[in-house]
Amino acid sequence: MDKSVLVIGGGVAGITAALKLANSGVRVVLVEKSPELGGAVVSYCCKATEQCNKCSVCVANQKMEELWSAPNLSLFTSSAIGKVARGEGGFHITVTRKPTYVDDNKCVRCKLCTEKCPTKPSSIFLPPPHSPLQSYVIDTDRCLYFQSKKCKLCQEVCPAEAINLSQKAGEENFQVGALVVASGFSPFDSSRKKRYGYGVYPDVITALELEEQLRIEGKLSRPSDGSQPKQVAFIQCFGSRDAHVGNNYCSRVCCTYTMRLANLLKFKHPDSSITIFYMDIQTFGKEFEQFYQQCRQKIQFIRDMPSLIQQDGDNQLLITYQDRKEGKVEQSNFDLAVLSVGLCPGEDTEKLVELLGLQTNEHGFFKSLSPLQTNETEAEGIFLAGTCQGPRDISESVAHSLGAAEKALAYLGAE
């Protein structure tokens, strides 16, 4: 049989599995639905203070770099799996690709198109360096070609012939021997918990938004007025361990990322005071318990899940919680509230499950064959990698996807 594998999802897990398989001599097709690879991690910040705090974010970036020089690999970004049919010699797959107009594999990043574009600002450009998207894009709302078919200057000047303005959605067919699903997670939708004011008060943000802000700006500011917040609250288990929203599981990563973020904020802004509202703190993994003890020295931990976030007249957030020591309801002012969102099943899970003939588990993640066979599924030749199977951090996702690669190799070898 043809030794080839289709990897669905280009997050840390998908990239790792694809790299390992490609380096083992297997032909790999990597399909990612968004325009850029990397998944969730591309918007995270490095959490180093005077020292590296082992968040693994840089490791994910490193993996993406390795991908550029991997052999045997076809990359399909902005693409989706259309059809999957099991047949003679494995799986027959149809991949549909949205038009991107610029072929990133050809683009040499010479800037000519941006310079020559007659619109001001240019309608074809490389997004800023902090953006997760690092290939040239066309803003079709401004581009003259898409507005009135009047201009084709960029396509003419591109020395690499990377631009094709008349590109249509394309369809390609493949045949592969095995499948690795690495479609990742979705962060909890914070607007579902109405009492916390997400989407209503600008200074209630999610941890993802905080990560992104720190990655882009390197410092913290309040969305409402740009000032530097002095009192910051983190609210743990947001959308996890919560039967009311149907998520009867712990997301594993939010305690660790929150402490690393809180520690980083304290380092960047020593005059700020940080409070973490929590139910239980999860410590596991290497050297994390010590890190937690250090955090307790500089960060205030309050054991309660607040019941309400409001905004008062002075543009201050008012958080209502229960002071268990005093046995009474308390209200405190904060400048910023960060919701430590949990990991929920990826948004395409249901769709993929149906397409591939798989099942979900009681929490809505992909169901694995057994609790100890987390890579295997009930469908032969289909393997799971990373957070699509359940909450994991980056290094665990890496290890898990290597397991998936190993299982896929063994499956191809045995055929």
Partner: protein, 562 residues
């Protein structure tokens, strides 16, 4: 003086876009005047296959022995260089880059300044290229067998995975039998996994597997050699033998101990550890004797967590599962007293809730730890600041008739010794290998030596199984086809200059240096980090292509050109 080089310099105009920023004609003339440069050409896009093919053909035609590519700092530069190298048979390490696009063209608004700076960069790049040596990769034969230290579930599973991929595995176990900690675990791990059944079936498969050798009552006493060819000296029941292995995996588990100082009272009939309870549960008679009949009527069975440091998902899972089982079958009042409930593992939160709905009482203490009064028939547990009601902090005394205490998970006392033998680090707690995100979790500072499972940090079984697969795959890739690829002479010792002060041996983070009359660097272990070269007081070590001479030439020329 080495023989003259024939250097080719290729200027990329990036699809014509650089002409506006740089005087490429002048740069071309300037380059032609540089020492040992015999060929100069302007290209449009050297990152595209057509141009790299052209470069390769010119290398052959002009018999070039060095190439400088002046253009962008391409994210693909390594693969471009390797493609050119493959086509032209020129060593990849003789192809270097001068990023004049980002460093000159785009950095200066004036064309003149940018061009001047580009001249300097080109001169520097050529000066260094003249002195570069080819760096060859070499394939050394590698043993297709792996020594696994530790015969618990992690070690056995890794051996099985390796054997399936056609590798030999040797399991070294210091105890007289395989199985490790799981042998004494009776409580089911999840809805389907019975640990005793699991471990015995795995032991049976491993014993029957012709690809797996099992050495019990054995210990490692010395490790020599390098990846591909380690020699492990071992002692089996007093007898010594030597095994050769291509790679080493430490899967040495952990130790549990009762942290008496955190409780202030010893173990007794009334106070037993989780391990003791687990052993009792494996025996129906003993279980009846402890829990059965009327024994639990009106009595309190207490599980306590988090006293000797933070609890772990491992011990929390045990308390939750076992209490739920006991509640089903016997008539004890069950309490679980904890500080942080560790539910970061698949199914644990659901189990936590299930316990609650079964009528098990979960009590959480905070900073104020519980106090104990031990008497003959019971242990009184004083809990303050109970987080059970809206009432103000108050003290509650709970009589305990049987108490199950959590043990502390600790590194084995011989880890330090093992780490030293293997040449790897330990973390501040004493578990194997320091935490470092830049290392893949199972990799260590020493090439060819890996750690997996709970000996680097305690982990739940599904994660151990995942690591076993990852470890096996990683090793299989490195030793595939019985060969291992290494760089030849990446770091070189000048034997005449070496005074054997041992500085490098102490400082090499990868334990790659030995001595034999002078320092000797193992090519298979060296990672080319350069620490030894920068620290050697006698300046006896040089890193190929980063020698002082080469770097000075690069800086020196650029200074002269200014």
């Amino acid at each position: 003086m080495a023989e003259e080089k024939r250097i080719g310099l290729f200027l990329c105009n990036c699809g014509g876009s650089l002409n506006a920023h740089l005087d490429l004609k002048r740069l071309k003339e300037y380059s032609q005047g540089l020492l040992q440069v015999v060929y100069v050409e302007e290209l449009r896009t050297f990152c595209l296959p057509e141009d790299s093919q052209r470069i390769a053909s010119i290398i052959k035609k002009e018999n070039l022995s060095g190439v400088v590519l002046a253009g962008c700092p391409h994210r693909n530069s390594e693969s471009i260089a390797s493609a050119i190298a493959r086509e032209s048979n020129l060593n990849q390490h003789l192809i270097t880059f001068a990023p004049i696009r980002e460093h000159c063209a785009w950095a200066y608004p004036q064309r003149e300044t940018a061009t001047l700076k580009a001249e300097k960069m080109l001169a520097s790049a050529v000066a260094r290229n003249i002195l570069l040596h080819p760096l060859e990769e070499e394939e050394l034969p590698a043993e297709k067998s792996v020594l696994i230290i530790g015969g618990g579930i992690g070690g056995i599973q890794t051996a099985l995975e390796l054997s399936r991929m056609g590798f030999g595995a040797i399991i070294l176990e210091k105890k007289p039998h395989l199985g490790g900690l799981m042998k004494g675990t009776a409580a089911p791990f999840d809805s389907v996994t019975q640990p005793l059944e699991l471990i015995s079936s795995r032991i049976e498969t491993a014993t029957k597997d012709p690809g797996i050798d099992i050495l019990t009552s054995s210990e490692l006493i010395k490790l020599e050699g390098e990846p591909g060819r380690f020699q492990a000296h071992i002692k089996q029941k007093g007898k010594k033998k030597t095994i050769t292995a291509g790679a080493i995996v430490a899967a040495a588990g952990y130790l549990v101990s009762f942290p008496k100082e955190s409780y202030g009272f010893p173990l007794s009939e009334r106070v037993i550890t989780q391990s003791q309870l687990s052993a009792i549960l494996a025996d129906e008679k003993k279980t009846q004797a402890l829990l059965g009949g009327d024994k639990g009527k009106g009595k309190n069975l207490i599980f306590i967590l988090g006293m000797g440091g933070e609890s772990t998902p491992l011990t929390t899972a045990f308390a939750l599962k076992v209490s739920s089982l006991i509640k089903e079958k016997y008539n004890w009042n069950i309490f679980i007293i904890y500080n942080n409930i560790k539910v970061a593992g698949e199914g644990l939160e659901a189990l936590f809730r299930q316990c609650r709905s079964q009528g098990i009482i979960l009590l959480r203490y905070d900073e104020s730890r519980p106090g104990f009064t031990v008497s003959k028939e019971k242990i009184d547990i004083r809990l303050s600041g109970l987080l059970t009601s809206l009432e103000k902090e108050e003290e509650v005394t709970l009589p305990g008739h049987l108490m199950v205490v959590e043990e502390r998970i600790e590194p084995e006392p011989d880890f330090e010794n093992l780490a030293q033998l293997l040449g790897i680090n330990v973390d501040p707690q004493g578990f194997l290998q320091k935490d470092n995100p830049h290392l893949f979790p199972i990799a260590t500072n020493k090439a060819g030596v890996f750690v997996m499972g709970s000996c680097h940090h305690p982990m739940l079984l599904p994660f151990i199984m995942e690591e076993a697969a990852a470890t096996a795959l990683h090793i299989a890739e490195q030793l595939s086809e019985g060969k291992i690829r290494v760089f030849k002479e990446r770091a070189m010792v000048d034997k005449g200059k070496c005074t054997l002060c041992l500085t490098c041996i102490r400082l090499c983070p990868h334990n790659a240096i030995f001595y034999d009359r002078a320092a000797v660097i193992s090519e298979a272990l060296c990672q080319g980090c350069g620490v030894c070269a920068s620290e050697c007081p006698a300046e006896a070590i040089e890193i190929r292509n980063y020698t002082t001479h080469q770097l000075m030439a690069e800086i020196g020329v650029s200074r002269k050109a200014s």
